[in-house]
Amino acid sequence: MESPTPEEQRLAELGREAVARAVADTYAPLGLRERLEADRVRLGPTRRRRALLAPAGAVALLVVVVALGLVAGAGRDGTIGGGRAGGPTVLALVQAGARPAIAAAPREDPSRPGFLKAAVDDVAFPYYASRSQWRSAGTRTDRVSGAPARTVYYDRPGGDRVAYTIVAGTRLPGLDGARVVRDHGVDYRVARAGGRVVVAWEVKGHTCVLSAPASVGADALLPLAWWQA
């Protein structure tokens, strides 16, 4: 290639910048992530072996699988909030937390020191600002696979932001391979999901998920999860 002229160089640089902006502004939609996660579960090793069967055999197997699924489903009736098919996953909550705030930051609840005036049922969001640099910065509410999930965002000086999401129900799937850290009898699952660092735990029949960009690190998230008002 001949040496580019200054004008050509300037044009190429403008193009590079435009592409960089487009890349920085674009993330995979939540719906796509959920479909991919469902595919990953559906196309696991057992499913892959089934795919190798002859079509007629596969149809027969499908009948058996559906029947077994119905029996198993009937057996699960009465299980409270436990990772039901089609319900939210931790990954979906993490992605909800990665979206921007759409409402103003909740303030401290004067009637409940140590908590914000924001809650899902009787599980309130903590007021970190009393003893840390994390300040509530906004909130949003999503329906994740049909379940209402509320997120409060906390910022600290330097630009870091964590998302604290609460949804009714426990034992949500989506944190395979998580490291478990126990504190005061509660299991905190620590993992990477959706490109973010995640801590998930259960309280009062709800699942709480703290997530942040990987640069924040699990060491910064765990004290927020363990927080005692």
Binding site: M1, P4, T5, E7, E8, R10, L11, A12, E13, L14, G15, R16, A18, V19, A20, R21, A22, V23, D25, T26, Y27, A28, P29, L30, G31, L32, R33, R35, L36, E37, D39, R40, L43, G44, R48, A51, L91, A98, R99, P100, D176, G177, R192, A193, G194, G195
Partner: protein, 171 residues
């Protein structure tokens, strides 16, 4: 490591969704098609165990994405063409981009990339959209680093020219 290479961990695929989605948008020029392309790509990868010899995960996934795109494109050309009605269109950016104008610009840029000649487009997608190094991009696309450099430069200039055709200087 066995002779057949390193196994691709299906659990790690989720780490690459954003990059592959951007790449898919840049290949197809349409957000709706990008979602379908990424889903087809993942389904193909998950359909059987995969073993990587020389590729990193992302380079390998980009190659599968590109091949899937080419295959889908050929199949689509054999079908009657349809056009989505306006009411079928979703909001520009459900993923949470900060401002509407940013989403518009991103869509415009990806559309311009998709319209580039294939060789230029592939180089730009590999390096600027997916974030591969020149060496990784050359390996993923089966070409030389110097070729990637040259194509990337021209592709960037064409994108800038497409955003403002009054600009001169397209190499």
């Amino acid at each position: 490591v066995s002779d057949e290479g390193r196994p691709l961990d299906p659990q790690a695929l989720g780490d690459h969704v954003d990059r592959l989605y951007r790449a898919a948008w840049a290949l197809t020029g349409r957000r709706e098609d990008a979602e379908d392309l990424v889903q087809d790509t993942f389904a193909k990868v998950l359909s059987r165990p995969r073993f990587l010899r020389n590729d990193d995960d992302l380079g390998y996934l980009l190659r599968v994405l590109r091949n899937t795109h080419i295959s889908r494109h050929r199949t689509a050309q054999r079908r009657p063409q349809t056009t989505a009605m306006p009411e079928d269109r979703e909001p520009l950016d459900p993923s949470g981009a900060r401002r509407p104008e940013e989403a518009v610009e991103a869509g415009e840029v990806f559309e311009l990339i998709a319209a580039l000649p294939d060789a230029f487009r592939d180089a730009l997608v590999a390096v600027d959209v997916v974030g591969l190094s020149y060496a990784e991009a050359a390996r993923a696309l089966g070409t030389k680093e110097a070729t990637i450099t040259s194509r990337l430069y021209r592709a960037r200039a064409r994108v800038a020219h497409g955003m403002d055709p009054t600009r001169g200087g397209v190499p």
